[in-house]
C-alpha cells in the first residue's frame, strides 16, 4: 500500500474512532479503548512517515478524493516536507495517547474529551497532507474546532469559557487571513490546487500581500507576538495531554503552513520579507520568555515558553529566507535545517514538560507553582524526567535543545556574507536577542523546576502528593530518551532532514554521518563543529573520575542536619523563595520596560499586627494596548447602532423613505 494511502487510512481510522467515541463515550472502557486505538493508529502512521522520509522522497505520493470542492476534489500529497511534519504530529500524537491512557482515567467528564481527541489528531494530519487550498483550510479550521472543543472540555472552571472564546475568535481570524491569502494565490479564475498555484508566477505585490496575510494567519495560530494572546489562555485550559499536543504539535502545524505557502507555493518573496520575519521572530522569542518568567501558573509558563520557541523557529526561517534570497544555498539549508530540527526538538521537550505539569496536576491538583514545592521527594521519577526536559529546553548540552540553537547560531554567524546592510546589521542584534532568550529560558526553567519540585512543600497537597501511573511515566521517559538521543546523535537527524531542505530550497547541508565520531560540521570543520556524543562521554568520564577519586580519598562521613542558612533557618516553608521573588531581579531589569511592572510594599503602621504585604503589579501591554481598544471600539459602535432597535415604526418608515429617495436621487444624478 503506497505511503500516502497508509496515512489516509490511519486518518480515516481516527475519524471513525471519533464517531465511535461519541457512541460509547459514557461507558467505562471508553478511555482505554479510544486512547489505545489512537496510540496504535498514530504509531502506524509514525512508522509509515519515518519509512517514507528515510526512503526515496523525490516522487511524492498523490491522492485525489472526490470530496471537498466539487470541480476540484480533495487533493492530498505526501512529500518530504509533509513527511517530516507527519513524523512530528504522529510522534506527539502517540506520546499523548500513551500518556492519556493513564491521565484520562482522572478525567471527570471523559465524554467531552474522547470524541474530539482523535478528531484533533486527524485534523492535524490532514492539514499536513492537504494539497489544495480548500481542503487545506477545511482541515485547518477543523483542527481548530476540535481543539476548541477540547479546550472547552473543562468548561465549568472559571476562565475556560473566556479562553475558548478568545481562542475561537483568533483562530477564525487566522483562517480568514489564510483564506484571503489563498484567494490571492488562486487568482480570479479560482484554481485552488496547490500544483496550479505553484506553477503560476506571482507578482511582487501578490507576494508581499500573501506574506503579510500568512504572518497574520499562520502567525496567529503559531503564537507570534502580538497575535499570541489566545495561546497562554487556551493551552493550559485543555487537559494536559491535549495541551501538550496544542503546544508541541499544533503550533508546528501552523509553522508547516507558513513554510508550505511562503517557501513552497509562493517561491521567493525577497530579502525585505526575510527582515520582517526575522524581526518578528526575535521579538516573539524575547517577549515570550519574559512573559514566561513572570508567570506563576505552571502550564501558562509552558505555554509562554512555547511562544518563545516559535519565535526562535521563525527567526531561523527568516534567516533561511534571507540566505535563499541572496542565493547562498548552503547557509540557507543550514538555517532551514536548524529550524526543522528545533521544530522536532520543541515537540519533544514541550510535550514532555506538559506531561510533567499534567502529572503534577493529577498528583496535587495544583497548577500554581507557589503552592507546590519539594515534589522531588514525593515524585522522584516524574521530577527526574521533568529535569531532563528543563535542561533540554534551556538549550544546554548535551541535550537536543542546544544542538538546534547551536545550528541557528552557526547560521547567524554566516550573516556577514549577506550583501544587504540592513540584514548585516540586523542579524547580529537578533542573534544577541536569541542568546538573551536562551539565557532567560534557562533562568525561567530554573525557576519553574526549583520552585515546583525543589525546596519544601508549600501546601498540604504538595506534601501528600504521590507518583503518577506508569503509562504517564512511560510516555515521559520515552520523550526524555528522545531528547537525549537527538542531543548526542544530531548528525543522523540532520541527514534525515536533508530531503526536506532539498525539496524546499534545492540544497542541503553536507552529509554528517561520515564525519569522524559522529560530530556535526555545518560548513567546515575549521569553522565550527560540535560533537554531542563526545561531550556527553567526556562529561560522564570526568564526572565519574571525580566521583571515583572523591570516594577513594575523601571522607565518607555524612551528617543530616537542619539547613544552615547563615544560622537563620526559616520558620515556615512560606518564607522560601517563591516564583515571584525568584523572578524579581529580572523583573527589575526588564519588567519596567516590558510590563510597566511595579512592586508595592504595604507596610503596616507601627504597632499594627498586620503582616507587611508585597503586591506586584504587571501589565500585559499588548493586551491592554491592542485588544482591549478593539473590543471597546466594537462594543461602543454596537451600542450606538443598537439604538436602531428601539425606533418607532414611523422612524423605520422614514428610514425606508430615506433609502428610496437616496436611490432615486442617485439614479437621477448618475444616469
Amino acid at each position: 500500500m503506497p505511503p500516502v494511502v497508509l496515512q489516509m487510512a490511519c486518518i480515516a481510522g481516527l475519524l471513525g474512532l471519533a464517531v465511535l467515541a461519541i457512541i460509547l463515550s459514557r461507558s467505562k472502557a471508553a478511555t482505554a479503548v479510544v486512547y489505545g486505538a489512537t496510540l496504535a493508529l498514530s504509531a502506524i502512521a509514525l512508522t509509515g512517515a519515518i519509512r517514507w522520509l528515510l526512503g526515496d522522497t523525490t516522487k511524492p505520493g498523490d491522492l485525489v478524493l472526490p470530496i471537498g470542492l466539487p470541480w476540484l476534489g480533495a487533493h492530498f500529497r505526501l512529500d518530504a516536507l509533509a513527511g517530516f511534519f507527519l513524523v512530528v504530529v504522529n510522534l506527539g500524537g502517540a506520546a499523548a495517547s500513551l500518556y492519556g491512557l493513564g491521565y484520562g482515567r482522572h478525567d471527570h467528564a471523559p465524554y467531552r474529551v474522547l470524541p474530539f481527541f482523535p478528531a484533533f489528531l486527524a485534523g492535524m494530519n490532514l492539514v499536513v497532507l492537504a494539497d489544495d487550498a480548500f481542503s487545506y483550510l477545511l482541515c485547518w479550521e477543523f483542527m481548530s474546532l476540535a481543539s476548541w472543543a477540547l479546550v472547552m472540555a473543562h468548561h465549568r472552571e472559571a476562565g475556560n469559557a473566556r479562553a475558548g472564546y478568545v481562542y475561537l475568535v483568533m483562530a477564525s481570524f487566522g483562517t480568514l487571513a489564510l483564506l484571503l491569502a489563498f484567494g490571492l494565490l488562486a487568482g480570479p479564475a479560482g484554481d485552488y490546487g496547490f500544483a496550479a498555484i505553484r506553477a503560476t508566477q506571482h507578482t511582487p505585490y501578490t507576494a508581499t500581500l500573501v506574506l503579510i496575510l500568512m504572518l497574520l494567519g499562520a502567525g496567529s495560530k503559531a503564537g507570534l507576538v502580538p497575535l499570541h494572546v489566545w495561546l497562554p489562555l487556551a493551552h493550559p485550559a485543555a487537559p494536559s495531554h491535549v495541551s501538550a499536543l496544542m503546544s508541541g504539535v499544533m503550533t508546528k502545524v501552523a509553522i508547516y503552513g507558513f513554510i508550505r505557502v511562503i517557501f513552497d507555493l509562493l517561491g521567493q518573496p525577497g530579502w525585505p520579507a526575510s527582515a520582517v520575519v526575522l524581526f518578528l521572530g526575535g521579538i516573539t522569542a524575547a517577549m515570550g520568555i519574559l512573559y514566561a518568567m513572570m508567570e506563576r501558573d505552571l502550564k501558562r509558563l509552558l505555554a509562554y515558553s512555547t511562544i518563545e520557541n516559535v519565535g526562535i523557529i521563525f527567526t531561523s526561517l527568516g534567516l533561511a529566507m534571507a540566505f535563499q534570497a541572496n542565493g547562498q544555498k548552503l547557509a540557507a539549508a543550514l538555517a532551514f535545517t536548524a529550524a526543522l530540527f528545533h521544530v522536532l526538538n520543541h515537540s519533544f521537550f514541550k510535550s514532555l514538560l506538559f506531561f510533567g505539569a499534567g502529572a503534577v496536576l493529577t498528583a496535587t491538583g495544583e497548577r500554581d507553582m507557589d503552592r507546590l514545592g519539594g515534589l522531588i521527594h514525593r515524585m522522584p521519577l516524574t521530577s527526574f524526567v521533568v529535569l531532563v526536559g528543563c535542561v533540554a529546553i534551556s538549550a544546554l548540552p548535551p541535550f537536543n535543545g542546544f544542538v538546534s540553537e547551536w545550528l541557528i547560531f552557526q547560521a547567524v554567524l554566516q550573516s556577514p556574507e549577506l550583501p544587504q546592510w540592513a540584514l548585516k546589521i540586523m542579524v547580529p542584534a537578533i542573534g544577541a536577542l536569541l542568546a538573551l532568550a536562551a539565557a532567560l529560558a534557562a533562568a525561567c526553567f530554573v525557576k519553574a523546576y526549583g520552585v515546583a519540585f525543589l525546596g519544601r512543600p508549600r501546601s498540604v497537597a504538595a506534601e501528600t502528593a504521590g507518583e503518577v501511573d506508569r503509562f504517564s511515566l512511560a510516555a515521559m521517559f520515552i520523550l526524555a530518551a528522545l531528547c537525549l538521543l537527538a542531543g548526542i546523535l544530531p548528525g543522523l537527524v540532520i541527514d534525515a532532514l536533508s530531503p526536506v531542505a532539498m525539496q524546499i530550497l534545492g540544497s542541503r547541508m553536507p552529509i554528517q554521518v561520515n564525519e569522524p565520531w559522529l560530530s556535526i560540521v555545518p560548513i567546515a570543520e575549521s569553522r565550527s563543529s560540535y560533537n554531542g556524543l563526545l561531550v556527553m562521554v567526556f562529561i560522564t568520564i570526568s564526572a565519574s573520575l571525580a566521583v571515583y577519586f572523591i570516594h577513594r580519598f575523601a571522607s565518607h562521613a555524612l551528617r543530616r542536619g537542619p539547613a544552615w542558612g547563615c544560622g537563620f533557618s526559616d520558620p515556615t516553608p512560606a518564607a522560601q523563595y517563591s516564583g515571584g521573588s525568584f523572578a524579581q531581579p529580572i523583573r527589575r531589569v526588564f519588567g519596567t520596560l516590558a510590563f510597566h511592572a511595579r512592586d508595592h510594599v504595604e507596610m503596616p503602621a507601627p504597632g499594627d499586627i498586620r503582616p507587611a504585604r508585597l503586591r506586584i503589579e504587571l501589565h500585559d501591554l499588548i493586551w491592554e494596548g491592542m485588544y482591549e481598544p478593539i473590543a471597546a471600539a466594537v462594543g461602543l459602535s454596537s451600542e450606538k447602532l443598537n439604538r436602531l432597535q428601539f425606533l418607532t415604526i414611523r422612524r423605520y418608515l422614514s428610514l425606508v423613505f430615506a433609502t428610496l429617495v437616496t436611490l432615486l436621487l442617485v439614479l437621477a444624478i448618475w444616469s
Binding site: 546589521i425 536577542l433 562529561i539 525568584f582
Partner: protein
C-alpha cells in the same frame, strides 16, 4: 586536562596573594587553595534534611562540565586532540549547564539565601550571555571561525594587526569574565555578608567534599576565562599544532607568564574598585553588550573599506 587541574588553584592562590600584598598584608601562601581543598575533602558533609539527590549530584556535574569546558580551551598549544568536539559557543553553553545545576541546587534546600543566590546568578547570566555571543560573533567575523584553535592560529598569525573592534571585544570579554567568575565589582567571592553575595549565597548549604568540588569548579572557571582571553587576544608564542617540542616549551612558558600577568591585573583591579550594587550590574553588563555590538558593527565598517 590534568594541566588545567593543577594550574587552576594556583592561579586563584596567586590572585589572593597579590591582593593581600596590595593591601599590605602578609597573605596566605599561593598554595593555600590546595590546602583548602584537601581540608574540605577530609571534612564530613553536613546535609540539610530535605536536600534531595539533585543536591548531592550537582557538585560532580558542575565540576565535570567546567572541567570539560576548560579542557577544550587551548592553553599554550593549539590543535588539541579533541577541540573539534565543541567550539566556543558550546563551551559557553557547558558553563551554562554548570550554572543551571548550581542554581537548582541553590533552590533545593529551600532557604531564602539559596533563592537570592540563584535568582541573582541567573539574572547576571541572562545579561552576560548575549554579550558573550556578540564577542564570539566579533571574533568569528575576524577569524572566520568559532573553533578556538583556528581562532588562536589566526590571531597568532602576524597579519591580524591591531583593531579597534578587537579592543572593544576584549574589554567586553573581560567584563563578562568578571561577571561570570563572581569577581568584584559584580560579586565578592570573599564576602559572607548575605545581602551582597550572589555566588556564595547559592552554595551556602554546601560543605565538605561537595564544597570542595564546587570551589574547584570555580578555580577552573577562572583559569578557563583567563586562558580564553590569553589564547584569543594575546596568542603570542602560542605553539601551533605539530611544531617541535621547543615551541611547546616556549608556549608553555609564555602561558605561565600570561596567567601571572592576568592574575596580577585582576588582583589590582579588584583592590582598586569596590563592589557595585546588584542592580547596577545590568548597566555594567549592558555596557559589555554595547561594546560587543559596537565592535561587530565597526568590524563591518572596517571590512567594507
Amino acid at each position: 586536562m590534568l594541566l588545567v587541574l593543577l594550574l587552576a588553584p594556583l592561579l586563584t592562590g596567586f590572585v589572593r596573594k597579590v591582593k593581600a600584598r596590595l593591601l599590605r598584608r602578609q597573605g596566605a601562601s599561593i598554595f593555600q587553595p590546595y590546602r583548602d581543598l584537601l581540608r574540605l575533602l577530609r571534612k564530613e558533609v553536613v546535609l540539610a534534611e530535605n536536600a534531595s539527590w539533585l543536591f548531592r549530584v550537582t557538585p560532580y556535574v558542575t565540576f565535570a562540565a567546567i572541567w570539560v569546558a576548560a579542557a577544550l580551551v587551548p592553553t599554550f598549544a593549539t590543535g588539541l586532540l579533541f577541540n573539534w568536539t565543541a567550539d566556543l559557543i558550546a563551551i559557553v553553553a557547558l558553563l551554562g549547564s554548570a550554572r543551571f545545576f548550581l542554581a537548582l541546587a541553590g533552590m533545593d534546600v529551600g532557604t531564602s539565601f539559596g533563592g537570592i543566590g540563584s535568582s541573582r546568578e541567573v539574572m547576571i547570566a541572562a545579561l552576560a550571555e548575549p554579550a558573550m555571543l556578540l564577542i564570539v560573533f566579533c571574533m568569528a567575523l575576524v577569524a572566520g571561525s568559532t573553533q578556538l584553535s583556528t581562532v588562536a592560529n589566526f590571531m597568532a598569525s602576524s597579519y591580524v594587526g591591531l583593531r579597534v573592534s578587537l579592543g572593544m571585544a576584549v574589554i567586553a570579554l573581560i567584563m563578562v569574565a568578571l561577571a561570570e567568575n563572581a569577581r568584584i565589582p559584580v560579586d565578592n567571592p570573599a564576602t559572607h555578608l548575605e545581602l551582597t553575595m550572589v555566588h556564595e549565597a547559592m552554595v551556602l548549604e554546601y560543605s565538605g567534599r561537595h564544597l570542595a568540588m564546587i570551589e574547584f569548579g570555580a578555580f577552573l572557571k577562572l583559569l578557563l576565562y583567563v586562558s580564553l582571553i590569553a589564547c584569543v587576544f594575546l596568542p603570542w608564542k602560542i605553539a601551533v599544532f605539530g611544531t617541535g617540542a621547543l615551541s611547546y616549551a616556549v608556549g608553555a612558558a609564555a602561558y605561565i607568564v600570561k596567567l601571572a600577568a592576568a592574575g596580577f591585573f585582576l588582583a589590582l583591579f579588584e583592590t582598586a574598585t569596590a563592589k557595585m550594587r546588584v542592580f547596577r550590574v545590568p548597566q555594567f553588563l549592558g555596557a559589555a553588550l554595547m561594546l560587543g555590538l559596537l565592535g561587530t558593527l565597526l568590524l563591518f565598517v572596517s571590512r567594507s573599506f
